[in-house]
């Protein structure tokens, strides 16, 4: 299969007019499979997570939720503004009119009090139990996939070689930011500096934090591992961090998609589907021999 892909002339080359670069083997089978499992997982986890959030659309700091005092940092409620029903989002005490999106929005033709709108939740109507069934099932898939990825990426050195930022990445950080801002992309087998930082942030920080804060919300896990509460500063803080980490993952997703489009979507998609990536002509391809543990 590798040879077929290497000689496949049919894919158009978006980024190198004139002389075409070589195809290099960039993504191992483990990277590709786990990537696409995560796409499915995170889709369901996000939309079912927003459904769960809607059961109590408020975030607090501390061990508990203040009902007779205030430790809320965010609420989404339906209320009255200027004599009309409105969705009111309160962030750090500041109120915003978010009618139609947060707090009050259309649900099958009726203005309904709900945190996130129905087009952002699974299922579309308010249904906490279904949201939990979906969320807690895909949470297992996420954890299992991350463990598979971790084992594979340690053993085929993907984690250390491609993901973990090194000293030179810190030195070249500013340079790479400026290249990205000018939409100048190099196409090499190696990830560029910002890719290393962002992939490391997602895989080594955000996803583990997501899982750990999720577990910190489990009353069973809090008995087994009370230190989870100490690490995150209480169950309700853990819930807030879980939410903020979700926001960061969504931002990553948006930038990730924009970068793929900007850097040449066909080449980028080919590499995460087939593993093969067309490098710029001048770059020295690493060659299939170093490409991954799964090489035939």
């Amino acid at each position: 299969m590798a040879n077929q892909a290497a000689t496949d002339p049919s894919a158009p080359e978006p980024s190198a007019p004139g002389k075409r670069g070589e195809l290099v083997y960039r993504q191992s089978i483990w990277t590709r499979i786990t990537h696409w499992v995560w796409v499915v997982c995170l889709f369901f986890l996000l939309l079912s997570g927003l459904q769960i959030f809607n059961a109590h659309p408020a975030l607090y700091v501390g061990q508990e939720s203040g009902f007779e005092y205030s430790n809320a940092i965010l609420t989404m409620q339906a209320g009255m503004l200027d004599g009309e029903r409105a969705g009111i989002t309160t962030v750090f005490g500041r109120q915003y009119n978010t009618t139609g999106v947060f707090g009050l929005s259309d649900q099958h033709g009726r203005l309904t009090a709900r945190g996130f709108p129905s087009w952002l939740t699974i299922p579309s109507v308010r249904d906490l139990s279904t949201g939990r069934v979906v969320h807690l099932a895909f949470a297992w898939v996420l954890v299992a996939t991350l463990l598979v990825w971790l084992a594979a990426s340690i053993s085929n050195r993907h984690l250390w070689r491609d993901i973990v930022p090194k000293g030179r990445d810190f030195i070249n950080f500013g340079d790479d930011v400026s290249k990205h801002l000018r939409l100048k992309f190099e196409h090499k087998r190696e990830y560029n500096v910002l890719q290393r930082f962002s992939y490391a942030a997602v895989l080594i920080i955000l996803l583990p934090v997501m899982i750990a804060t999720g577990l910190a919300m489990s009353p069973g896990m809090d008995a087994a591992a009370p230190w989870l509460l100490d690490v995150f500063g209480g169950r309700q803080t853990a819930r807030t961090i879980h939410f903020l980490t979700m926001v960061l993952l969504v931002l990553f997703f948006i930038v990730h998609i924009l970068m793929i489009v900007a850097a040449g979507p066909i080449n980028e998609l080919r590499s995460i589907i087939t593993g093969w990536y067309r490098a710029d002509p001048e770059s020295k391809p690493a060659g299939p021999a170093e490409g991954g543990a799964d090489n035939e």
């Binding site: 009902f67 279904t130 309700q236």
Partner: protein, 260 residues
């Protein structure tokens, strides 16, 4: 080049359609998952059994839920679900200060019990300041006092076939006035923090919090901790009760194991 542009435009348009259908998907494409008999939902629900087994494995029998200090009790216990049962039986009991209340312990026991509140108050008690976690997402810390459930079970002497406790309650919920009930396994029933609470924050249980008696199962979510209990039935199988899923909310799609 023009061919290339076309390809890109097509790809972008395709991606756009894919992206919008993905977000719209939240709308109703996945609403079939609300159907409790759908095979896909059945499959996803299997995760709860996995969570139950794994948590039982790593929790051990007696790992304690975190307890808090007096200073961390900063508000009254938030009431949820039934707050004021209206059955004539309950109203009569309440109006008489629960003097005629009896907790029945029945089913697979050698020595069925019928305990008055005075008897329960005279049994050894445990006081614990714990966090109540509602399935909705909020938490509330309160100080609970009551009789360790295992003492009551020891008096009743469980038969070897006993596997679960079913808690029958005075309150009903929903438009059909369905009785509230719950169930737990014997590990949670015998857990040191599992108490039949008669007091919260140093006061007798208010009606909104489940007077005269509710169970605390501190390693699970709030809906497992039945209020207004009148009978504890020891069983080998709970599928014969009501909807067959082991609890009022379980019959409505919530997980039987509420440890997560």
């Amino acid at each position: 080049m023009s061919e290339l542009k076309l390809t890109r435009r097509h790809l972008l348009r395709g991606a756009g359609i894919a992206a919008s259908s993905l977000t719209l998907a939240g709308c109703d494409q996945f609403d079939f998952l609300t159907d409790r008999d759908h095979a896909a939902r059945d499959f996803l629900e299997g995760a709860n059994q996995l969570t139950y087994q794994i948590q039982r494995l790593i929790l051990g029998r007696d790992a304690l839920a975190p307890e808090f200090s007096e200073a961390e009790v900063r508000q009254g216990q938030r009431a949820n679900g039934s707050r004021n049962p209206t059955s004539s039986e309950y109203v009569a009991l309440r109006n008489a200060g629960f003097a005629a209340y009896r907790l029945q312990v029945t089913g697979l026991v050698e020595n069925p019990q019928s305990l008055s509140l005075a008897q329960l108050y005279n049994m050894p008690s445990r006081t614990q300041i714990t966090r109540h976690d509602c399935v909705e997402g909020w938490s509330c810390i309160a100080k609970w006092t009551g009789v360790p459930l295992r003492l009551v079970l020891d008096e009743a002497r469980l038969k070897p076939a006993a596997r679960y406790l079913v808690f029958h309650c005075y309150d009903t919920l929903g438009s059909a006035n369905s009785p509230y009930y719950e169930s737990c396994d014997l590990i949670d029933a015998r857990h040191p923090q599992t108490i039949l609470a008669h007091s919260v924050n140093d006061e007798p249980l208010p009606v909104a919090n489940g007077a005269p008696l509710r169970v605390r199962i501190e390693r699970q979510l709030g809906y497992k901790m039945a209020k207004y209990i009148h009978t504890i039935e020891v069983v080998d199988d709970f599928t014969g009760f009501h909807g067959g899923h082991g609890g009022y909310w379980e019959d409505r799609g919530y997980e039987w194991y509420g440890g997560i």
